[in-house]
Symmetry: none
Subunit: 251 residues, 2 copies
DNA sequence: CTTCGCAAAGTTGTCTGACAACTTTCAGAT
DNA sequence: ATCTGAAAGTTGTCAGACAACTTTGCGAAG
């Protein structure tokens, strides 16, 4: 146990190297598009092994600062301090966030998710369908047991995004899902089971899955749209503001 | 040089492992605070060497998803992804870019922007139309003077997103626009003017504006879609992979 | 002289094995 | 029952090797 105080972080070597390289980039000592020194040179310069250099560069790749090309080298990729997107500014607990704010975020999610469902219907692999079906099955179990399935709910939506075969869409969906990790609890709470909210949500999920499995892009978009509108209502939001039942034709 | 088909995208192993672990975390298959499998176990599970596992975990540490404690293990961060979303994309306008990467990011942009255009058509205020029109006018001037108008191009797209009256959609559009600030230069370069790319882009812009001004949501979506598909082609991307001419009906 | 082809060198990607530093566990001593 | 300490387990680092890919440059063919 023990709440380790965690006094100081002895900066692991790879972190230190990554910071130094990041600094060189932000100082333009390594201009954009420039090739980084080879791993061998960096080893000598920092006095560490190649594994450390590679872990550091791996971090920079995750940050988007550099890209690598096998056989060629590593290159500076992006301006520093450029690429991060945040929502729901402020560390406020969910209760204090005004519903307008949540509604707006939900609409952005809706934009991406309906488009993702559409494309997922065109590109899903058998493995994608399996993954979705497993999440559905777990939610069915939770439905029977009247237990919680927020994680499986999220997993289902991420699986749809993954079926686009576009890792950025998947990551964005996972990111958006996290924003609602708390707000989605009511559906799967005891009250949610009793009132039928959970069962209704599951039926909507099934429609989305069927459309994607059939490869019917239009139906997939419509089903996702319908689900999100209903989900918004279950959260007490007002989807009419961004609802496009007017557009897509609600069913 | 030519066209290496590159039909398959063998994602580097460390990237693939990192994505899988990220997925497990986002699916809550690895809950907050939980300990990841040991590196040795992960090696066996993925069938790769320890170096690959370590590079993948290094990426996750950079993302803040996991923390490690020497001698103990790696743990999912207690506060997962509090809310920053990152994209990565390659550097230069010249050759030597991973076009797959840009293409995937562009598709995400396409998802949001077509939806934004649709909603903008329903909600735009006179002030929004004025803002869009001013950006259009500035691009017209640039067209006559054969000068640069990348900033106005971006401003036009952000104005559309702003017309949704949803600040998050506007901020996301601005964020995505930044990702392409360099890659959009070719359209407005001297060569872009000479070859007619700039004029064509402007014509597409006008169609989007007209549809939004008329309040025709379907036409706005279609015009935005058409513009983005053409813009992708101007960037040398292959929109067929994510293109949904099949869906929206190309014109 | 130019152009094409191809081998060689250089670089990143991955594997293997080893050891150091640190943490956790548990059996034995107190 | 508590404390001690050795052993096992895990991450951090190092070293060397080979595979996959890219770039370079030399030599031969045109």
């Amino acid at each position: 146990m023990s709440a380790t105080p965690i006094p100081e972080r002895p900066p692991h070597l790879s972190a230190a190297v990554a910071r130094q390289l990041e600094r060189w980039i932000s100082e333009q000592r390594l201009p954009r598009g420039a090739q980084l020194p080879t791993e061998k040179l960096l080893c000598e310069k920092f006095g560490v092994s190649r594994a450390v250099i590679r872990e550091a560069i791996s971090r920079l790749k995750a940050d988007g600062c550099v890209t690598t090309r096998q056989g060629s080298g590593a290159y500076v990729a992006a301006r520093p301090g450029q690429g991060s997107f945040r929502l729901l500014h402020g560390p406020s607990p969910s209760a204090t966030i005004p519903t307008d704010e949540i509604s707006d975020v939900f609409e952005l999610r809706c934009l991406v998710e309906t488009g993702a469902a559409e494309r997922a219907a065109l590109r899903r692999t058998p493995a994608d369908l399996t993954r979705m079906h497993e999440a559905l099955a777990r939610m069915d179990e939770a439905l029977a047991a009247e237990s919680d399935a927020v994680g499986d709910d999220d997993a289902f939506h991420v699986a749809i995004a993954a079926a686009t075969q576009n890792p950025h869409i998947e990551r964005f969906q996972a990111f958006m899902g996290r924003q609602f990790s708390d707000s989605r609890a009511p559906t799967w709470s005891g009250e949610g089971h009793r009132s039928g909210r959970a069962r209704q949500a599951q039926a909507e999920h099934a429609r989305i899955f069927d459309a994607i499995a059939c490869g019917d892009a239009d139906a997939a978009r419509a089903a996702a749209q319908a689900h999100l509108v209903c989900a918004a209502r279950r959260l007490g939001l007002d989807p009419s503001r961004w609802g496009n039942e007017q557009l897509e034709g609600a069913e």
